[in-house]
Symmetry: C2
Amino acid sequence: MKNNIPPTTVKRLPLYLSCLAELETNKKGISSKQLAELAKVNDAQVRRDLSYLGTLGTRGVGYDIATLENQLKLELGLVSGWSAIIIGIGNLGSALAHYGGFEDKGFGIVGLYDSDPKKVSSKVAGLVVKSTENVKSDAKKYKVAIGIIATPAEYAQETADLLVEAGIKSILNFAPSRIIKKEGIQIRNVDLSQELQVLSYYLDRS
Amino acid sequence: MKNNIPPTTVKRLPLYLSCLAELETNKKGISSKQLAELAKVNDAQVRRDLSYLGTLGTRGVGYDIATLENQLKLELGLVSGWSAIIIGIGNLGSALAHYGGFEDKGFGIVGLYDSDPKKVSSKVAGLVVKSTENVKSDAKKYKVAIGIIATPAEYAQETADLLVEAGIKSILNFAPSRIIKKEGIQIRNVDLSQELQVLSYYLDRS
DNA sequence: GAGTGTGAAAACATTCACAGCT
DNA sequence: AGCTGTGAATGTTTTCACACTC
């Protein structure tokens, strides 16, 4: 486990996992071809991707769904259950707090933080919003693994610095601004308007 | 223009655009090396990417920023101004409606739709939420180019079908479920919890 | 027969390194 | 001298195709 799976494969693993989750519960096994169809990728790709996780399938038969799900979760580190916090409880931040999908997948949102005193102490998605001053002590107390930045762009960098200072090693940044990479810190940027811009390229212009 | 730029390059074009936008306004020109530093990519990559848009730079000098911005916007189709609608005005949908970044980049959100009668007629981000029944006629009336799906997963497919029926060719799907590809329809999936899952893979497990 | 796992080929993407322009 | 644009080299990802197992 954790040998060194190509990044492109890592990106597809959650996809496979969600395809498997949608299968009927009585179904026991699945072939690479079936899974490929669900995930909308090539079947050789599925076999190659899964082969990085070890020899999971049975020739002539296929893959056992339960085994596969377990192995995917194990590989992605989704068994232990990571804690995450959200900084910036505006519209996007509170949408993320409400977004059930995180808890389902084993990520517990354990804290919400905002620097605006008007927001502090309000309740969002069952959690009380705290001042950002508490991030450092809370991160240690609750062993927070992931920090989610949902602040305006201009505060993204200082928020990231705060998270790193708090000992958090993985950052998911929704602010439309890049964060300076730091040694040992994993950063994923999700810029919602960039997605639209990419779509726009593929629009027919007539 | 629109020759056939590699997908990996297309993904980086919005990034270059946002780097240029953050530059001081008095700056006239920029070298591939400087832009590469801002975008955190290799400088040869920048030159190769930009060369797909034509011969934009001047040897020995660099790139004129205004020209470059124009060309990037032109290539991405961001000059004409596309209209987009959002279906599903839950937490995520209303976060997207409020998200200023879209309008800034030339995408006008012209309609919000929900199937829940309790939400219909409420006002979100300055727009009145309408029933999904209006999607088809509105799409034609307002020449909507992009449909944004922010419904629960189980309604994603039928919403996509509705959008396609309404003549919309580009779909941005935030629901955590894949949509069946259709000939001539561009789909981009953004699954927020998948991003976390990918991060999780890179977390140290000790 | 059916379907995996994987060498080998093909396709694609990145980076080097330098000729050529200003 | 400085910096682009791009062949060529290198690295990575995808796909083919088939030996092998159940």
